[in-house]
């Protein structure tokens, strides 16, 4: 087991190296650099851009250097000092920005993950057990509708509904009156009132995939001889279902958790933009738009690394859950 983990960690090193290269390459792909973007956005507000100011900015950001020098500066900073560089736009160390936003992103992602499971599990089990019944169809449609509606649209509509019919303050995570308040139940309730919209939106987009996996896995297991054995033992259907096929079907399911996280983060980005949530998504998008390269690059790097680690974790989890993998490795 330990050897298995070590080997996987070893595999991560080249992957991460390539990821760092590609992260940096991606942010270099669009024409121009942060300065171009800054000038463009200044020009869009009618601002005159002085040559002096430009010269000062160019010197300040060191954008004139060749790409490989910039890359080296960045990657060596990360490796040697844990320094992800400075965000041009926010004038803050990238790491400050990253960690600050990650907490909330994780919170939303976790909630979403739970929500997805809560929805996808029963529907997946139900539609496998009652394959081709009307219940299966209804549950499947419900599970898939979330996937089918573009996230930004559903976010917008829900937001309008919250405003129009519930008179709820939209956007952000707190109503203005709770923004400054100390943590108490009312504030927590207020947070949940805001949180359910993104969680439901991002969550429903993911349920379809999980339902499909759960259903297919379970269908595979449901008619396996060991289920008949268990039934012949005298186990009740419910207990039997949960203890045997569902439990076995969970294993491939667990291996998808690692892949789910980046998908959540991506889905979260669009929804968070629409809902103005202080998560990583909008920050990343903004950094990409404004070509705030160290911020954007570090962000991509970090998210990719998390994905790689997530995959590793889910593999480890899978090994832990499934004796066949654990004991034959």
């Amino acid at each position: 087991m330990l050897q298995f983990i070590l080997r996987r960690v070893f595999y991560m090193i080249p992957t991460l190296f390539v990821i760092s290269l590609v992260s940096f390459a991606i942010i270099q792909l669009p024409p121009g650099d942060y300065l171009t973007s800054l000038v463009a956005s200044m020009a869009a507000t009618g601002e005159t851009v002085d040559r002096a100011a430009l010269a000062a900015l160019e010197q300040r950001y060191g954008l004139g250097q060749p790409v490989y020098v910039q890359y080296w500066k960045w990657i060596s900073g990360i490796l040697l000092h844990g320094d992800f560089g400075q965000s041009f736009e926010w004038n803050q160390p990238v790491s400050t920005l990253l960690w600050g936003r990650l907490a909330l992103t994780f919170m939303i992602s976790l909630f979403t993950l739970f929500f997805t499971w809560i929805v996808a599990f029963p529907i997946g089990i139900f539609s496998a057990v009652r394959q081709y019944s009307w219940g299966d169809y209804v549950a499947t449609i419900i599970g898939y509708v979330g996937l089918a509606i573009p996230n930004f649209l559903i976010a917008l509509i829900l937001m309008y509904v919250a405003f129009k019919f519930f008179n709820q303050s939209v956007g952000g995570l707190f109503s203005p009156e709770y923004q400054d308040a100390a943590w108490d139940w009312a504030k927590l309730w207020d947070l949940f009132k805001h949180l359910w919209i993104p969680v439901v939106i991002i969550g429903t987009a993911g349920t379809a995939g999980l339902i499909r996996i759960m259903r297919a896995n379970l269908l595979d297991e449901l008619h396996k001889p060991y289920v008949v054995t268990a039934r012949a033992k005298g186990l009740s259907e419910e207990r039997l279902l949960l203890k045997y096929p569902v439990r076995v079907a969970l294993n491939p399911f667990v291996s998808t958790v690692g892949w789910t996280l980046p998908a959540l983060v991506s889905g979260e980005a669009i929804v968070s933009i629409v809902l103005s949530l202080p998560t990583t998504g909008p920050l990343l998008l903004r950094a990409l738009m404004s070509q705030d390269m160290y911020l954007a690059g570090s962000f991509i790097m970090l998210l990719s690394t998390l994905t790689v680690i997530g995959t590793l974790l889910s593999d480890v989890l899978l090994a832990w859950l499934d004796p066949r993998i654990r004991l034959t490795q």
Partner: protein, 676 residues
């Protein structure tokens, strides 16, 4: 306007001398009615409040400040009001009423944080615009003198005026900014161009603690105007006593430690991370320790991790209302960062926003606000934009494509394209019937309004367009597209920043139809702003749709429609670059003589302080522009709107909107107040 300004200005000189003799505060207070009326009226209007404010300032100090401070003063943690105010505070006459202290203004922002905050409250320059944008009035400087040929400017600062940390603001702060920041090549490689005339940078001298002199190598007639624009704001953003500790020339004791502690590469970066705002995209706003001169100071900085910024009143703010009450009225500003205009809109509709003037105020949205006015308890105000047109179509006369260049440089070709546009239909379709057919020209309310320039070739006349084009490119291909002499169809891309201005695409989609009808094939190239900027710098485009600032402040912004100079003149970027390198990107080309003449004339406008001469030169520039017919306009821009809550007072019903007039600051945002 210029005449008015000149007369008013001389009057102010006299006035300020009189008033400073009294030892009391007064400025020509800028009530909107007052400025509309004859200049003579300014004197009583200004004098009256000044006299009033002088008397109660001493005894009733308690009642003239926010209750927030009264307590602290009583507790001894804050000096009394008269010690905090300068001897001669700036007196601002509120638009409607004397306000009550207190309340929080919630203002949404999206995009660049500092730029919105800045235009709300940060433009505290030596001089400022009047609310109507028709004059320049004292601000940080209580008065000034200009020499005969407008090459020397002496500013008198307010004695006893303080930074927000209680330190005195003096001439040394300005000198520190000029000598140690603006002229320090480590920090700023080049001195800003608005400080350079005839190739020579300004010389700044300290006459005494409260007097500074700016001397130029040649006359600089537009200096005061420049001084009122955001360009000049950085001058007052470097409190010497605070910034010195980060400056290599001053701090020889513990600078290395500070640099080390902040893990910055050198003191330059350290200093830059603590100061600066718009001029160098600096983070001064986020530095809670940086003393400021603004009405509010940051107490909760914006940043990646916060979706809002909170500002609270500055105890040392140096302005009072006509009753001597220290401004601002509003305790707190809360700026919520809302990345999506829809959220901003919903919050506004819900009445959760006190003031909203951009980002979510498109014409299309107005109907929705209109329907929610009662429920949301808000009202509208008009924004009169500084634009000369709703959208300018710039055919690049300097394009690298030779065949197209020949076509575009042919004025008749441009005239034909202008005739081919059904402007009224565009107005009806895209602008809900608001506006009139218009070319790129000063607005009717501008003193430089010129009917010929504004309306020439605006008729919708397909026959005439075809007639002209038949004379130039008679042959057409099977699709009805005219053929160039090379045999290629007459085809070009019009690029624009489709991400920021999706509405422009609508106009172009119609124009595309009109032009196709006369055999000209225009493709719409909707690209990102960054790419547009890259291609603009490389002069790598055939045509573009662009802004046209200068419809009101024409004299500050002739590039977009009068003469190729500056970055707005994308119809002839290479000729523009010949005059002024701008950002130095586009390769300059020698322009024709009449363009050179325009450049010469504009230099003369800038140099002279003689308003009649300025007018005369400008008229000649306009005459050449009429003859040249640089670019094709669509319609007169009827402006935008803003939204304010009904309980927010002293917000004018109408205000200009421009980069040069950083709205709404000149309308005296410190006098806005909230009734409970």
């Amino acid at each position: 306007m210029q005449n008015q300004f000149y007369r008013l200005f001389s009057l102010m000189l006299v006035l300020s001398m009189v008033l400073s003799a009294c030892g009391s505060a007064a400025t020509p207070a800028a009530a909107p009615e007052a400025a509309e009326s004859a200049p003579a009226a300014a004197e009583p209007a200004a004098a009256a409040p000044a006299a009033e404010s002088a008397a109660p300032a001493q005894e009733a100090a308690d009642s003239h400040e926010s209750p927030m401070w009264t307590e602290m003063v009583a507790a001894g943690t804050l000096p009394p009001l008269d010690e905090r105010l300068p001897k001669n505070p700036r007196v601002v006459e509120p638009l409607e009423s004397i306000g009550q202290y207190g309340g929080t203004m919630r203002i949404p922002y999206g995009g660049s944080w500092s730029s919105r905050l800045y235009s709300f409250m940060g433009n505290e320059n030596l001089v400022v615009w009047t609310p109507q944008w028709d004059d320049i009035i004292p601000n940080v400087a209580e008065s000034w003198e200009v020499n005969e040929d407008s090459s020397e400017f002496v500013f008198h600062l307010r004695e006893g005026m303080r930074w927000s940390d209680g330190e005195l603001f003096t001439a040394d702060d300005i000198l520190f900014w000029y000598n140690d920041i603006a002229s320090n090549t480590d920090i700023n490689p080049v001195i800003p161009s608005w400080l350079i005339i005839a190739g020579e940078p300004v010389v700044v001298e300290k006459i005494d603690d409260y007097t500074v002199k700016f001397s130029f190598a040649a006359p600089y007639g537009l200096f005061l105007q420049r001084l009122a624009t955001p360009d000049a704001s950085s001058m007052l953003e470097y409190p010497e006593h605070y910034v010195k500790q980060f400056h290599g020339d001053y701090n020889t004791e513990n600078l290395d430690e500070l640099v080390e502690a902040a893990s910055q590469p050198s003191w330059v970066e350290l200093l830059q991370s603590k100061t600066g705002s718009r001029d160098n995209n600096g983070p001064g706003w986020t530095n809670l320790d940086l003393p400021v001169l603004y009405a509010w100071r940051v107490t909760e900085p914006p940043g990646g991790n916060s979706t809002r910024a909170v500002l609270e009143r500055n105890p040392y703010y140096w302005k009072v209302d006509t009753e001597g009450n220290q401004l601002p009225y509003v305790d707190k500003l809360v700026w919520d960062f809302l990345d999506d205009p829809n959220v901003m809109m919903l919050r506004t509709l819900n009445g959760e926003v006190e003031f909203m003037n951009y980002y979510a105020n498109s014409l299309q949205n107005k109907a929705v606000y209109f329907d929610a006015m009662v429920e949301g308890d808000f009202r509208f105000f008009d924004q009169v934009r500084d634009t000369a047109n709703s959208l300018m179509l710039h055919l690049n006369l300097n394009t690298k494509n030779e065949v197209l260049r020949e076509a575009f440089q042919n004025k008749d070709f441009r005239i034909a394209l202008s005739y081919a546009i059904n402007r009224q239909e565009v107005i009806d379709t895209v602008f809900v019937g608001q506006g009139i057919p218009y070319q790129g020209a000063p607005k009717p309310t501008s003193e430089y309004y010129n009917e010929t320039l504004a309306t020439q070739y605006t008729e919708y006349d397909v026959d005439q367009a075809n007639q002209i084009l038949d004379g130039i490119y008679p042959d057409k291909n099977a699709d009805g597209i005219r053929l160039l002499p090379s045999g290629d169809p007459l085809q070009f891309d019009m690029i624009l920043d489709a991400t920021r201005f999706p509405d422009w695409v609508n106009v172009l989609e119609l124009v595309q139809i009109y032009w196709k009808a006369v055999g000209v094939d225009m493709n719409i190239g909707g690209i990102s702003g960054d790419l547009l900027e890259e291609r603009r710098k490389a002069n790598d485009y055939d045509a573009t749709a662009n802004f046209s600032d200068g419809g009101l402040a024409t004299i500050l912004n002739v590039g977009p429609f009068l003469s190729p100079l500056g970055r707005g003149s994308t119809y002839a970027p290479a000729w523009g670059a010949w005059y002024d390198l701008g950002d130095g990107a586009v390769e300059p080309q020698e322009p024709p003589d009449d363009v050179k003449r325009q450049h010469e004339l504009y230099d003369m406008v800038k140099a002279t302080a003689d308003l009649d001469l300025q007018r005369q030169y400008m008229d000649e520039i306009i005459d050449i522009a009429i003859d040249r017919f640089w670019a094709i306009g669509i319609s007169l821009d009827m402006g935008q709107y803003g939204v304010v809550k009904n309980n927010l007072h002293n917000v004018p019903l109408s205000m200009p909107e421009s980069w040069n007039y950083p709205d709404p600051f000149p309308t005296n945002t410190s006098t806005y107040w909230l009734s409970q």
